[in-house]
Symmetry: C2
Subunit: 231 residues, 2 copies
DNA sequence: ACATTTCGAGAGCAGTGCTCTTGTTTTCGT
DNA sequence: ACGAAAACAAGAGCACTGCTCTCGAAATGT
């Protein structure tokens, strides 16, 4: 029995609360997450929890950050498992499949991250850097595809001038310059992947598509082809 | 003062509750919608509301159905405003723009329909037919594009056999047969549009894209081109 | 005209997020 | 090493929620 110092104890309690909160999140979803229930489960009184998280919403954002980190780590691990780094199609598929695998394993967490924000629109808070890991992994692929001089697999319209300026920030997020049309195709792939996932996980594909795995594979394969990553 | 009959009164009260609920939904979102507050607003006691809607969830599903109907009507109206019925690209853009316009005007309703389902996964209930109006409008365009023998604007991979059988139900929802690759491209467009909308409305495009209007126009225009609707 | 159903109102229950107060314990400055 | 200061757990309490039950009053069907 080490005579726990105050900081140690605080760290332990914080973890215990977060762990129990994640478990409850997986069971009942974000809407039904109860601070009092969490307090009971970890063996303290509800008001004590507020010494660690000032409100339920802050607890939720902590869970969001944790979930983003977990998903980001999964994505990066999947990418690292592709041996030939120049196989950008494999890396793109690894990116998409990692997200889908994680989402299927943690549907409530996915809903928390990419579904409707529960307490109104969350202002730009400390969840942004964690969330950037996922898109950042994709942007790396964009840069590498540009450097590899891949030619797009589908004819792509020239960007309107408004659109060109509209994409300024995302372009700035990539160190090297990227062709207009390529940038657009990658953004479309981004929307298509998350659109598929949200439609699938939120029950909008129930009638219409039988085998989600097959459909996702077909879609992502097509996206890779459109991006010129294959061959 | 007509001596309101019982059925009349019931219809009026039901409407009053629904109207007030929609207003409150637009103000505070689905999570914070309160039966008691609605009751106060319409001038009755909370328990009286339960004579009209057996639970809060049933009230929410009624709101979902209403929202689907409103969105469906908006989509159909937008489609009807395209004079040359063979201009499938214009009709596709009308479809996409109608959804986005409605979503921007009613973000909380959009979140209710296409965001994370609030009370766990809603089982297949009476919301399905209302929801089918939106996808149904898209499927009509698929059928017409096939009949018009449009040739896809982007090279498309052959479907895997698993994928071909996976798409059985959606194919059955269209009276006339549809080419495999065309079906896939339309499903991708479907996911891409809703993916864009969810990413935009739920705040994931905040950094990255400045002008959502321009980007959406560019994306949907590209989708129409990929589907072979232009020219 | 009467029995049945429908309805509104109120009380009440169990639960929630959150605040405040009250002792107790750990930490820190001197 | 000791006393001031900060951190902490516990409990009571407030305002609120969804929902149930009972009780009278009103409209309905026969």
């Amino acid at each position: 029995m080490a005579p726990k110092t105050r900081a140690e104890n605080r760290a332990e309690q914080t973890r215990a609360i977060l762990d129990r909160a994640r478990a409850q999140l997986a069971e009942v979803g974000p809407a039904a997450l109860s601070v009092r229930q969490i307090a009971r489960d970890v063996g303290m009184v509800s008001s004590a929890v507020y010494r660690y998280f000032p409100s339920r919403d802050e607890l939720l954002t902590a869970l969001i950050v944790e979930a983003y980190d977990e998903l980001g780590a999964a994505v990066e691990a999947a990418d690292a498992h592709v041996k030939r780094r120049t196989d950008l199609d494999k890396r793109f598929l690894a990116w998409a499949n990692a997200i889908r695998t994680w989402a299927l394993a943690n549907p409530h967490e996915y809903a928390l991250l990419y579904g409707s924000p529960v307490p109104g629109y969350v202002a730009p808070d400390d969840t942004v850097p964690a969330a950037s890991r996922i898109t950042g992994a994709l942007l790396s692929l964009v840069a590498e595809s540009e450097l590899a001089q891949h030619v797009l697999g589908a004819p792509t319209n020239r960007l309107s001038t408004k659109e060109r300026t509209a994409l300024g920030p995302v372009r700035d997020a990539i160190p090297s310059p990227v062709e207009d049309e390529r940038m657009l195709r990658w953004l479309m792939a981004w929307a298509c992947v998350f659109g598929h996932l949200s439609l699938e996980l939120f029950g909008h594909m129930h009638r219409g598509v039988l085998d989600y795995d097959a459909h996702f594979a077909q879609v992502t394969g097509q996206l890779a082809a459109d991006l010129g990553l294959t061959g």
